[in-house]
């Protein structure tokens, strides 16, 4: 079924308030549909209470709603019984959890961790810290001019010393959909654990964790129509069982004595303290909403809108798109000759076009491109051709403004 962005837009209250806003910063965070906002409110209005410990009706209801989102998440990524879903505060916390607990389980001095030059800072910095702590080496799969991985030297990068491979599924700068299966196969062959940063891929299409054969998958609720403050770690239960906990506190314990403590089962072992209850429950509604539209339909529509955007942008004089990967999602990074990205963003804002200017938390890519920043337009299901036209008009007017045209 063809997706109609204008019908979808009706579900998003922000666009009722800002009727002429072309919101093109979806890779940063998405807008929220009414049903997600309603679900969060339902929790606060009808069964607001703590989970797991209240022997009273609203407490049981809150626990039921909170726990039942795990099943939705596992289903979303087609996970089988070997996987568990852990709630975190975001992709960043999920990756830090792994960099702490998985590292402790598998790393020893001299080992190697492999990431790529395309990573988001959240998938770089935690591994730099882990490498320093354990005396390990951080290696990078390089990227090409096209914004793709250069895997020509992969055999020297994945070795017997490689214990963890953590890679970005879809680039938040180029939009590249990366050939992760190849890497996973090679990583598994040397016994490395494989993590997929799917913060940018989950919202846009089917991600099948079993097919991709990775051990861990991380993503954020706020980039997939869900509330802020909730993220996900889906992982192989067997490995999670062996990993030491990340944070200590309430909920994650089995027993506590003054001398020592023992841990609760997975997933709760990794969920210390009162969790982000309202946010998890709201995320459940976001998943329902996405499933209702259908991930296949989303993917098909995004292909269409990307093609239109690329075509129209290429007609803007002096505009250069960074990267040209074969498989690409709805993210376009570009520059407009002679205008600094931040000045451009400011002018686009005046035209009611919200784009991002900056390094997109991917400074290694910026260094490679030899620019401090780019302009990024990223699209989602409520964006239509009208938004693209508005962007192009804004760009043309910026050219005039700076007297370049």
């Amino acid at each position: 079924m063809q997706l109609n962005p204008n019908v979808i837009k009706e579900d998003f209250p922000l666009f009722k308030k800002h009727t002429s806003l072309a919101f093109l910063d979806n890779a940063s965070t998405t807008q929220k549909p009414q049903c997600v906002i309603d679900k969060v409110n339902e929790y606060y209005n009808e069964y607001n209470s703590n989970v797991h410990r209240g022997i009273y009706q609203i407490g049981e209801k809150a626990t039921y709603e909170y726990e039942s989102v795990r099943g939705k998440l596992l289903q979303l990524v087609s996970a089988n019984d070997n996987y568990s879903a852990i709630y975190t505060s975001g992709t960043t916390e999920s990756l830090n959890l792994l960099a702490h607990s998985l590292s402790k389980l598998v790393l020893k001095v001299g080992d190697e961790i492999l990431i790529t030059e395309m990573e988001h800072h959240s998938n770089i910095v935690p591994w730099q810290i882990a490498c320093e702590k354990y005396g390990c080496t951080l290696k990078y799969i390089p990227i090409t001019e096209k914004g793709e991985w250069d895997i020509s030297q992969i055999d020297s990068l994945i070795t017997q010393k490689t214990k963890i491979v953590s890679m970005i599924h879809q680039s938040n700068v180029f939009g590249t959909i990366n050939p992760v299966k190849k890497i996973t196969e090679l990583a598994k062959a040397v016994g490395a654990k494989v993590i997929l940063d799917s913060a940018q891929s989950i919202p846009h299409g089917n991600v099948n964790i079993v097919d991709l054969n990775c051990d861990f998958l991380v993503f954020s609720g706020h980039k997939m129509l869900g509330p802020t403050g909730v993220g996900i770690l889906i992982g192989k239960t067997e490995i999670l069982n062996m990993m030491p906990p990340f944070m200590g506190g309430g909920e994650m314990i089995y027993t506590v004595s003054m001398e020592s403590s023992t841990w609760n089962e997975v997933p709760w072992k990794f969920e210390a303290g009162t969790p982000n209850i309202a946010q998890v429950i709201g995320l459940g509604a976001a998943i329902d909403y996405l499933n209702n539209i259908g991930m296949d339909n989303i993917h098909a529509y995004e292909k269409k809108i990307l093609a239109i955007a690329e075509k129209k942008l290429s007609q803007v004089p002096g505009l250069k798109i960074f990267g040209n990967p074969q498989k690409k999602g709805t993210v376009i990074s570009f520059e407009l000759d002679g205008i600094h990205p931040h000045d451009l963003a400011q002018i686009l804002d005046e035209h009611n076009v919200a784009v991002r200017a900056g390094h997109h938390c991917a400074q290694p890519i910026m260094n490679k491109l030899n620019v401090p920043a780019t302009i990024r337009a990223s699209f989602y299901i409520y964006n239509s051709e009208k938004d693209i036209n508005q962007l192009v008009n804004g760009l043309n007017s910026a050219l005039k403004f700076f007297s370049i045209q």
């Binding site: 600094h340 990205p341 400074q363 910026m366």
Partner: protein, 148 residues
Amino acid sequence: MDELRELYQQLILDHNQNPRNFREIENYDFHKKGYNPLCGDQLEIFINIKDDIISELSFTGMGCAISKASASIMTETLTGKSLSEANLLFKQFREMAMNGKITDGLPLKLSVLSGIYKYPSRVKCALLAWHTMHQSFDTQNIVDAKTE
């Protein structure tokens, strides 16, 4: 567009396209790199002092129109000023950039940036060169506009 026109006045656009004192000074007395972590832009400030007077002031680097124009106007304004005058102007300019408050005696030329406080994410752009200049007297390390 009116607000935007106010932000990007002709003078700003002019200084952006033809920045004054945009060069490296050889044998400088002071030199400092400034970095804006929000955008990744960097600039360098070079200073010569004679008898407590800024005899030469220049800059190089990449940046947005606001930061380049601000740097350019700064070099024009401060050349020939004493260090204590420069210090006072720095404080007055910072006050204006952050809160829009124009102090008596602030050179008219600087007031083209008086609207920047309405754009919080751009305040650092206007202050980058000034901070770098100001801190160049302290140490020789990289500084930035972080403290705002």
